[in-house]
């Protein structure tokens, strides 16, 4: 696919991008852009994009804007956590950091939570060492594009043994601009040995304008570090959302991710996790509810590089109207990565005759002493369960809603940050309430 739009953006913004005075960063950007220009936007001709076409993005004609505008008139951004709870918040509007809306409380010693721009001003040497470290393999065009065009994002850095008890909430608001905008948030999480944090990303919208957010996140977990990483993507239904996460998990560390998708016209969550130390563990779970003409794509890749690592992956989806969902999960057990445990499951409810699911749960195994499995199911609600509820006097619409809610609740209630559950459940509730009457 053509790269014209983004070549224009890059040309126009190059000098306004942060850190242009740093030779290493300009080089990083220039190299990344060259890779992107060579590869072009992914097309369904590529195996990993078989079921998702980015053509609508190309057609939408997004513009780019360099300077943050101060005049966006909002005084508060929505929160997913009970207001009483103490937590740190970073707010981004159209990809720009809004310090006035953010509240970062007192952080324990050794903890740093800031924006990428601020970090560039403060400690460029540290960034040089970490930015792009996990995204070495950005043969993926979208991540390369992100590297070339990154404007801002959040940086979380915890020194050895630092435990952040209060969750961090990062709110992304889109659609506030005057025209259709494309932006490329870049986030960096580096947890040193034994540190722990809970990170909640909330993607939502405030204006009418369509937007395209192409984010890139690098996560480095050192020995024994724990990161709980949650994401609710409730972008506008005219928005586009592509997110790439690259995580490396060292010995004894845990990367626990849960993502829920209800928004965006087209979204793709691509997560690649490398389990690089013994006893490294990762959970990649997700839920999605889509309808209308939405398209959601969850693509994950877990690499077991050393012996004694484990992963579990459960994605559950509800697809209505003409929506389409894609699940591509790949677990690779490398040579000699013995005693690997890997389990993967994709379950889908199809609620309408035009809904579609394309699942590709993939195992690639080069070691013999492993226990790996995957499963995939797709179908309508269980008729027996429905009958049970109907026979007890519950109207069909309510019965269906109950079953759908229960189907997803299972994965929501399994998350570690219980404070987040009510917000996630209520977004499921809203989605169900908004369904057309013809249940």
């Amino acid at each position: 696919m053509s790269t014209e739009t983004f070549t224009e953006h890059y040309g126009a913004l190059r000098d306004a991008l942060p850190g242009q005075d740093l030779p290493w960063l300009s080089r990083l950007r220039a190299d990344a852009f060259a890779r992107f220009a060579e590869a072009g936007l992914p097309t369904p001709r590529q195996e990993s994009w078989k079921y998702t076409s980015l053509r609508p993005i190309e057609k939408a004609g997004f513009g780019a804007d360099g300077a943050p505008r101060a005049c966006i008139s909002i005084d508060r951004a929505p929160s997913l956590l009970p207001s009483a709870s103490d937590h740190h918040r970073l707010v981004f509007v159209d990809g720009h950091h809004r310090a006035d809306l953010s509240t970062v409380g007192p952080l324990p010693e050794g903890a740093e939570l800031t924006s990428l721009r601020e970090m560039l001003a403060k400690d460029p040497a540290w960034l040089e060492a970490h930015l792009g470290a996990q995204a070495q393999d950005d043969s993926q065009a979208l991540l390369a594009l992100n590297t070339a065009m990154m404007m801002n994002g959040f940086v979380l850095r915890l020194a050895k043994g630092t435990v952040l008890h209060d969750p961090i909430e990062v709110v992304h608001l889109g659609g506030a601009g005057e025209g259709p905008l494309a932006y490329h948030p870049r986030n960096l999480v580096v947890l040193e040995p034994g540190s722990q944090a809970t990170l909640i990303e909330h993607h939502t919208h405030m204006g009418e304008q369509p937007y395209y957010a192409n984010s890139g996140t690098e996560v480095t977990l050192a020995e024994g570090a724990v990161l709980h990483h949650y994401k609710l993507q409730a972008d506008a239904l005219n928005a586009f959302h592509t997110a790439t996460v690259h995580a490396e998990v060292a010995a004894g560390a845990l990367y626990d991710a849960f993502g829920m998708t209800t928004g965006a016209r087209l979204s793709r969550n691509e997560i690649a996790v490398r389990l690089a130390g013994e006893e490294a563990n990762c959970h990649l779970n997700g839920a999605y509810l889509v309808r209308g003409e939405q398209h959601v794509d969850n693509t994950t890749r877990i690499d077991h590089l050393v012996p004694n690592t484990a992963c579990s992956e459960i994605f559950k989806g509800v697809i209505d109207d003409k929506a389409r969902a894609v699940f591509q999960g790949k677990i690779t057990v490398h040579r000699d990565a013995q005693h690997t445990n890997g389990h993967q499951l994709s379950k889908v409810l199809l609620l309408s005759d035009q809904a579609e699911i394309d699942a590709k749960p993939e195992l690639e195994i080069y070691a013999d002493d492993v226990v790996c499995s995957h499963g995939a199911t797709a179908g309508d609600l269980d008729h027996n369960a429905l009958f049970y509820l109907r026979s007890r006097g519950i109207p069909e619409k309510a019965a269906r809603a109950m079953l759908i809610e229960a189907f997803l609740a299972e994965s929501v209630h399994n998350i570690a940050a219980q404070g987040l559950c009510p917000a996630l459940m209520s977004s499921i509730g809203h989605w169900l309430a908004d369904r057309r009457g013809d249940l």
Partner: protein, 483 residues
């Protein structure tokens, strides 16, 4: 049963690769390489009608424009298509043998080594064999018995002459010539293969079977099989393959097309144990096969069973297109790879009609330095109300240098369809091995026993004649992989 006993004996004799011999028969061979002239040569040799030549040429011209498929997980050096012979027929006196006595005695000898005693066919539990020796069928038995009930079972070249209307109607109707590069090549240069037609309401009185064999050096084998089961009929077809030991890779690109009309059933079983290459991965057959069945009629059924133990590279996806309402597709597979073998195999179940059902049971066993991949597609079309699919793929790893991969594609466009897929990968349990060892079994016997148990679900689907041989083969294929 004497015949079964004999099969057992023969398989037992398979110490290593027993079938590694070359019969020295003067082949009447077309010049090396591939060109329009070669296609015309083959067609002329076969005395084919104009329409078939045209079809071949169309395929050849299309083939030139096609790219080699690269999506599978097998690796091999690029094939030099000009370095192969595309036609070789065993030399025959006159117009071909009229009875077994006229068949080249050397051929018969080969068959004997292969365990196909043509003279004792009738004893072989009702199996009629259409033996294919290097691209030309030389003998067909039981023809009369079949003719009595109206079953047509003959080499496809003969069918072109005697039943052109059937061949013309169905050839390429399931696997069009431009389907994929290998099938396209086959369409251009296929030399022979079997043709089966089961008339309305006939239950074929015996299992039909063919033995394929690659013989002359550097001869690609391009078989074309076409089976048509008319309304309400039933046929069980067995295909078994062996090939002589050889150093140069041999290309095999076969095409099998099955058509089941209303209420018809076709059961297609394969045991494939071609030369897999030596322990260092030298030599071996490239087995690029396109097999596809169309359940055209209501309540029709196509069942594929395969035991894949041979070939250096296997690239094979027997598929079912479930067009007719209530039609059923089945795929039972065992793929065993050892040493440097590579297998990329699986199935496609395309659900189009209402209440169509499919079942996939795939067992992959990898040993040595081999790679085995299950690659399958289950597609539920928007109109396939009430469709049902169940897929189970299990992989067993023997040794830590091999690989086992599962790549299923599941596409569902109908809410009233239920699709289930599950897959596991594990190795032979130490406990099971210990149990067997403790009872005095050797390590190899113990592995063979456990593996046979692992494969049982599929082995049970094989017709009796094959089941015994297949069970033995499972053990033989894994020889040298343990201990």
């Amino acid at each position: 049963m004497a015949a079964t006993f004999e099969t057992v004996e023969q398989v037992r004799a398979l110490d290593k690769y027993k079938y590694g011999f070359v019969t020295d028969i003067e082949a009447e061979t077309a010049p090396k390489g591939l060109s329009e002239d070669i296609v015309r040569f083959i067609s002329a040799k076969k005395e084919e009608p104009e329409w078939l030549l045209e079809w071949r040429l169309k395929a050849y011209r299309h083939w030139l424009t096609m790219a080699e498929p690269t999506w599978s997980k097998v690796q091999f050096p690029p094939i030099d298509y000009q370095d192969s012979y595309y036609y070789s027929a065993p030399k025959q006196p006159g117009d071909g043998p009229k009875s077994l006595d006229e068949v080249d005695p050397k051929l018969l000898e080969t068959y004997e080594k292969l365990g196909i005693p043509l003279s004792e066919q009738k004893l072989l539990a009702g199996v009629a064999v259409d033996a294919v020796f290097d691209s030309v069928s030389v003998a067909t038995t039981f023809k009369k018995n079949l003719e009595e009930v109206g079953v047509i079972f003959c080499p496809i070249s003969e069918a072109v002459k005697n039943h052109p209307e059937l061949v013309r109607k169905y050839l390429g109707s399931v696997v069009p010539y431009g389907d994929n590069k290998h099938a396209c090549l086959n369409s251009a240069v296929f030399t022979d293969g079997s043709f089966v037609y089961i008339p309305k309401g006939v239950r074929c009185p015996m299992e039909l079977s063919t033995y394929f064999r690659i013989n002359a050096q550097n001869t690609g084998q391009f078989e074309r099989t076409l089976i048509i089961a008319d309304e309400g009929s039933y046929v069980s077809y067995l295909e078994g393959c062996t090939a002589p030991q050889r150093d140069e890779n041999q290309l095999h690109a076969a095409v099998v097309e099955l058509i089941a009309l209303d209420d018809a059933e076709i059961k297609y079983s394969t045991v494939q144990n071609w030369y897999p290459g030596d322990e260092d991965g030298k030599g071996g057959i490239y087995n690029f096969v396109t097999k596809r069945g169309a359940c055209r009629g209501r309540n029709s059924k196509i069942s594929w069973t395969q035991v894949e133990t041979g070939s250096a590279i296997t690239w094979k996806y027997p598929s079912c297109i479930l067009q007719g309402d209530n039609s059923v597709g089945e795929f039972y597979s065992i793929a065993i790879t050892n040493n440097h073998q590579q297998a990329d195999t699986g199935t496609k179940m395309i659900h189009i009609g209402k209440n169509t059902r499919s079942r996939i049971i795939a067992k992959g066993i990898s040993a040595g330095k081999s790679d085995s991949t299950y690659r399958g597609l289950v597609r539920i079309g928007a109109k396939a109300e009430g469709a049902r699919n169940f897929t189970q793929c299990d992989s067993l790893l023997v040794g830590d240098k091999c690989g086992a991969h599962t790549v299923p594609y599941i596409e569902s466009k109908n809410r009233r369809a239920i699709v289930e897929h599950e897959a596991t990968t594990s190795r032979i349990s130490e406990d099971q091995l210990f149990y067997c060892r403790q009872r005095g079994m050797s390590q190899e016997d113990a592995v063979a026993l456990v593996v046979n148990g692992f494969c049982r679900e599929v082995l049970q689907q094989l017709p009796m004649e094959f089941a015994v041989e297949a069970q033995k083969l499972v053990g033989i294929s894994l020889e040298g992989s343990v201990g």
